[in-house]
Amino acid sequence: MHLRERLQHPAAWWLWGLGLATAASRTTNPVLLLLVIGVCALVVTERRDPAIPNPLPAFLVLGAGIIVFRLVMTAILGNGIHGDTVLFTLPTLPLPEWASGVRIGGPVTLESLLFALYDALRLAAILACVGAANALASPRRLLRYLPVTLYDVGTAVVVGLTFAPQLLADARTVRAARSLRGRDGRGIRETARLAVPVLETAFERSLGLAASMESRGYGRAVHTSPRGRRFASALALIGLLGVLGGLYGLLDSSVGGALGLPLLALGVLLATASLAVGARRDGRTGHRRERWEWTETLTVATGALAATVLVIASVQAWPGIVPAQSAQPPPVPLPAALAVLVAGAPAFFTPIPRGARR
């Protein structure tokens, strides 16, 4: 079977990443979490967007940093887990009376270290999922799918994205000019001097862009009627009130937790609807419209499968989903591991990104 080279729909990759992140958030089993990270790395290696620099390594480094930081902090300051297996003992630092809850140094147990490691590994796995989504589909491709009410805001973000690198180039130019005049360009005062010409240029360019947008009839792209606008505002406000009431019910169980979740869901629904009904846009054709085909559906399905299996596993408390902190390797529930592995299948059945082969 041959698939034409193309980039998959960004929403498919982000939903897949969210599913895998949900799966990772439900377990602290190190084997499962390492599997999640491995799946992310595999899919990114096979199918990443070749047009952008790969952000996954940065996310992995961040995750590794979190693990190391947690382990060091746990060794020095301890955590809430008290174990019997003392690995080594650090010298204790005496502290004043007011900080009585804190200890620095003392015995370091295997249990507390393992707890810290498993928990940090879970955060690292979630970060890997987010990083994989960033690498597979650049989030700025999602800007196209903003609701019409946010069309103008989306345009402002696109203007910002386009101008930010130019701003840096301008700053370099001004700095070079100043260094030619014998300034070394360091220090806070020099930075401040830099800001004025750079921002002046940016405004010049941006207002020029605005003038050209206006002369091309940009302002007529979005239609709002006062009545539709009022309707949307009412929906948004009622939705926000619903969200607030639902949260109150959820957080304060004495009021009645049963009412909280439906109220919250209703509020979220109304608030989302207010984004959809607030304005409408002229029908227009898109350049290089992204398509949703069976590979996209299957990608989302694999992510959703992993999330579903792990959620069921954590609700039914399968052995090994939240392993005990002991020296023996924890048991790995086979269905959960298989579900995570299936989430790696998009590395093989999805179309190859355009420009990845040369």
């Binding site: 809430g80 804190v102 960033n134 805001v153 910002g160 207002l207 940009y218 926000l240 957080l251 608030a271």
Partner: protein, 283 residues
């Protein structure tokens, strides 16, 4: 000179901002007053729930504030604020915490009003995240917090262009830098649970004073070292470059003529003179 309001805040927007503000406050401070059984049952899901919820609500808030008020020029000015914020993020990607981004947001909110302050704050964070590929569950929390920083800058009760403005805004930059860190830690603090250092972790169901004391220690031990330099850097930037930058923004706002009243009266239109028509036709 009066402050030009590029985005006027009408009562639905004000109500929406207030409601989202209350939800945002809940999203950050729920660990302090939630019941013990909720915390043990949902302590791990709550940050995700709030991340999704705040993401949606910040979009609703942006839509409410901007709907029907943005013309091409307002978009251009917001674009510059977003670009400046994003560029600052690119520059400071290596030095965690030293983010001069707030400086731009505060100046924009100061000159162009609280509405623009909110929008440019959240857009600057979004642009920075999109540029560095750092879109994650922290983004909604940052959008709300940075928006609040810009909003507050627009609401500062000092007259524009006065001598006091410089110091008031500098003080505001320092305080908001510290508060931003204080609130941003809260979104992941309950996550740490028993994994936080002894005496600094979130204890579900413990009295408010205990959790506040624990969080205070946690903040002092981990975050203050980053937040204080950021606050001081932003305040210093405001003192040194603030007046000049305020002038740049005010000039841009004047040139874009946001305040200019538009009235069109068909009777007052001067009919074109014959010579001008002839000139036009001959071309």
């Amino acid at each position: 000179m009066s402050t030009r309001r590029v985005i006027p805040l009408r009562w639905p927007s004000v109500a929406a901002v207030c409601l989202v503000g209350v939800v945002g406050l809940l999203a950050f401070t729920w660990p302090f007053f939630v019941s013990a059984d909720f915390a043990t049952a949902h302590g791990n899901d709550a940050p995700w729930l709030f991340a999704v919820l705040l993401g949606l609500l910040s979009l609703v808030c942006l839509a409410e504030i901007t709907a029907g008020h943005l013309d091409a020029k307002a978009i251009a000015v917001l674009g510059v604020a977003a670009a400046a914020g994003g560029a600052m993020r690119l520059l400071s990607a290596g030095t965690a915490g030293l983010e001069p981004m707030f400086f731009v947001v505060i100046v924009a909110g100061r000159v162009l009003g609280p509405g623009v302050g909110f929008v440019s704050g959240s857009l600057a964070v979004t642009t920075g995240a999109l540029l560095t590929g750092g879109v994650g569950p922290w983004l909604p929390f940052q959008m709300i917090s940075a928006g609040a920083v810009g909003l507050g800058a627009g609401l500062l009760p000092v007259t524009a262009g006065s001598r006091a403005e410089r110091w008031a805004v500098a003080g505001y930059a320092l305080v908001s830098g510290l508060l931003f860190g204080l609130f941003m830690n809260l979104w992941f603090w309950p996550f740490l649970g028993p994994n936080a250092p002894t005496g600094m972790g979130f204890v579900p169901g413990a009295p408010l004073a205990t959790n506040l004391a624990h969080y205070g220690l946690f903040y002092l031990a981990t975050s203050l070292g980053w937040d204080l330099p950021r606050g001081v850097l932003n305040a210093a930037l405001v003192v040194v470059a603030g007046p000049a930058l305020l002038r740049v923004f005010r000039r841009a706002a004047r040139r874009a003529a946001f305040g200019a009243p538009v009235d069109f009266d068909p009777h007052s239109v001067v009919p074109p003179s014959p010579s001008a028509t002839a000139h036009g036709a001959s071309r």
